[in-house]
């Protein structure tokens, strides 16, 4: 089971959630999963784009009641 880190960026606006993810992904070991919670819809769309461009792995995006959960794995 991979280690998982939670980044709760609910209430933060673009580019807050993405920047939180960027900071976190640099600090964790390769193989770690990061779950970003964002109440900002544009971040929920833009984070997967960033993950693709940065060459990391997007495990999934899930819409919950009032926020999104974006699960990312550091692969390099």
């Amino acid at each position: 089971m991979a280690e998982r880190v939670l980044v709760d960026a609910r209430g933060s606006f673009c580019p807050g959630p993405l920047m939180e993810l960027v900071k976190t992904i640099r600090d964790v070991e390769v193989g770690t999963e990061i779950e970003v919670l964002s109440s900002d819809e544009s971040s929920a769309k833009d984070i997967p784009e960033w993950v693709k461009k940065a060459g990391q792995e997007l495990i999934g995006v899930e819409k919950r009641n009032d926020h999104w959960s974006i699960l990312v794995k550091r692969v390099k």
Binding site: S12, P15, M19, K23, W50
Partner: protein, 128 residues
């Protein structure tokens, strides 16, 4: 890719857009160089920042009310996490007799247009 942003506007909406585009680009491995000049430089003056007295339209005022992360914070974060540098226009500072102390602590250097153009050869230039 190397991206250069010439920031000549003091409007909050444009400052916000420039900082977001520049910071995200820097986190993707791009080298980002920002040249703050004209009103774009004056937006970084300590008194302007303290009083949040940027020129702002309806959207900009909404951003301030919503407590959105402001461009200064976004740029500082980008400097920590990515390859982003920001320069103050020497011409404007000399003309108005301003020193670095009068601006928030964000600039990598005070430079002239020739130095900036030398740095951004082969860069994609965005003028805001």
């Amino acid at each position: 890719m190397k991206i250069a942003i010439v920031l000549a506007s003091g409007e909050l909406e444009k400052l916000q857009a420039a900082s977001i585009i520049g910071s995200i680009a820097s986190t993707l491995g791009n080298e980002v160089l920002i040249f703050a000049t004209m009103d774009g430089l004056m937006a970084f003056k300590k008194d302007v920042v303290e009083n949040k007295s940027w020129k702002a339209g309806e959207l900009g005022k909404g951003m301030l009310q919503a407590n959105a992360p402001l461009f200064i914070e976004t740029l500082k974060q980008a400097k920590e996490t990515g390859n982003l540098k920001i320069f103050a226009c020497g011409m404007v500072m000399d003309m108005l007799g301003l020193s670095m102390d009068e601006f928030v602590d964000i600039f990598d250097d005070k430079i002239g247009v020739t130095a900036f153009l030398g740095m951004v050869e082969n860069a994609q230039i965005i003028f805001i």
